[in-house]
Symmetry: C2
Subunit: 328 residues, 2 copies
Amino acid sequence: MATIKDVAKLAQVSVATVSRVLNSNGYVNPTTKERVNKAISDLNYRPNDVARSLFKGRSKMIALFVPDIMNPYFPELARAVEDVTNQHDYTFVLCNTDDDIEKEITYLNALQQKSVDGIIIVSSTINKEHIQHINVPIIALDRILSSDLSSVTVTNREGAKEATEYLKEIGCERIAHICGPENASNTVQRLRGYLDVVKDEDWFLSSYVVSGGYNFDKAVEVTINLLKDHPEVDGIFAANDVMGVGVMKAAQSLGLRVPEDLSIIGFDGIALGKTTSPSLTTMAQPIYDIGARAAEILIEHINDKELLRKREEFTVKLIERESTKVRR
Amino acid sequence: MATIKDVAKLAQVSVATVSRVLNSNGYVNPTTKERVNKAISDLNYRPNDVARSLFKGRSKMIALFVPDIMNPYFPELARAVEDVTNQHDYTFVLCNTDDDIEKEITYLNALQQKSVDGIIIVSSTINKEHIQHINVPIIALDRILSSDLSSVTVTNREGAKEATEYLKEIGCERIAHICGPENASNTVQRLRGYLDVVKDEDWFLSSYVVSGGYNFDKAVEVTINLLKDHPEVDGIFAANDVMGVGVMKAAQSLGLRVPEDLSIIGFDGIALGKTTSPSLTTMAQPIYDIGARAAEILIEHINDKELLRKREEFTVKLIERESTKVRR
DNA sequence: CTATTGTGTGTAACCCGTTACATAGAATAA
DNA sequence: TTATTCTATGTAACGGGTTACACACAATAG
């Protein structure tokens, strides 16, 4: 690979002049500039980003932490972050953390050593202390990690409330909830939204809430148990779509008709919900927009270290599909 | 951030000695070593990887090109590559190419400028010429890009043949095929496997093959048309699971029972196939293993520039689920 | 007892850019 | 006409590591 010295030699100028041409700063005589550009293209020269990074202390890389890219919520998020990242000439690094704090810390260190410019984090385990000594901008996504971090989230509680109310509206009289893992903040929010609607109903039982850990197989299993114990349940709000589809699978395996016998609503709005028969009604998040916005805010922080903390909250939107009865 | 000089000063040695301790090479007196290690931990020093990369000309980064991480086949692949990558202390860079050669070339250049150590590519557009002047090891995944590249693929043709034969065995008498996009090499292979079985059947019609572009919505659409034109079709081999689920959706929307009226088999073995009712019978690829193996071979190439080209082919395996009639 | 090898450490060049600073001629201002 | 500013370019330090080479002393060999 040609270096800036080779270009300088061929164009008969100093490396400083070549650098000026490359970065369009300082004075360069148009004739000289042309000579340098010719040398650059003749040698097919491309500046070494590593050397640049070393001097600048910045690497033009952005990392995204997700628990597991195999969870279908994350690919769209990752895609959004990558797209924005690329538009701004950053390179995108993906880190699967398994919500394992050890792995997260290892990544945090490795990325710092690589002078990564910023990190977007979806995590249930990282807290203020883990990141206080990190001098790279961090954005919390989907969940809030620390009071002094910018974040992009959604109206989990309100959305959950709306989902549950929707089930009531269409005529469900016993509504259960399959919630996520206890340690995730959005599990708590969505559960609260559900309880906001049902806790004062005379039919409400605490056993109408069971945890499916945001996991398909677990959701199938707990739903089967729930429906066996409580055949009166005619509506289920699943805290995410993966579990919503699990609930549908469970219902169908028990011979229940969806939505005639059981209405199901999910949360997230991932593509999976469109593939089932019947397709899944859901409270959809603008997943791509969330990821894109997080990346934009991160880049703002990178460009302006003094930028104040931002908190942005997207609203979720009901998508009526086939897993719920038609509104009367 | 502390530098090696700070450590050297604190430990009262030269930077060379610190470097020797860090890299465990050369002679270092045990006492000195201890002093250096103390200084390192006192300062919480971590070597700057950018400086290291500049000197070494290697960055400890590996990139994966996929058409689109939102296609559910790729997250598992990406996960595998990332896991292996991490085990060997590499950082994982994900690139969504949309099978757009412009984007691919842009990435190739950007990664070279970053001294990336190796690239794993899934692409239908990149060919020999695009990569001949690239001096970084490249592995072709899922599809073969160039005769001189190591690759990891699956037995597409044999798997397709087996899938089609399976439909025959369970009693299907008119078997159609929803194929992938024309430009993908595995589309061609899977189509050949299908034709190997059916081309000499007296019932076979060329209109039994339609393209669904590996896409859910497209597959739903073309299947509806196919089944309207050819109500005699009682078995469909979809070239991937996403389309297989689309076929199921189409069949159910037409009021057909699966598998009683129509048996459906997919290809890939992604998690999606387990979520539907009925669940999707498929020719499963060992997706994780494929990705992991590609990453391992890449690392072998990185460590040994003289390593000969390797061609590894994984076999696919029938997973009988509920979308096909039971074998008589 | 000298020659050789092993041990332990430091100096400085190198990787490849960027940029502060120096220099100098040309253009403009006073 | 002289002072000042603008234009144009070069030299060299710098970023933070790694390592070739030099040097010195200790241990072992002959």
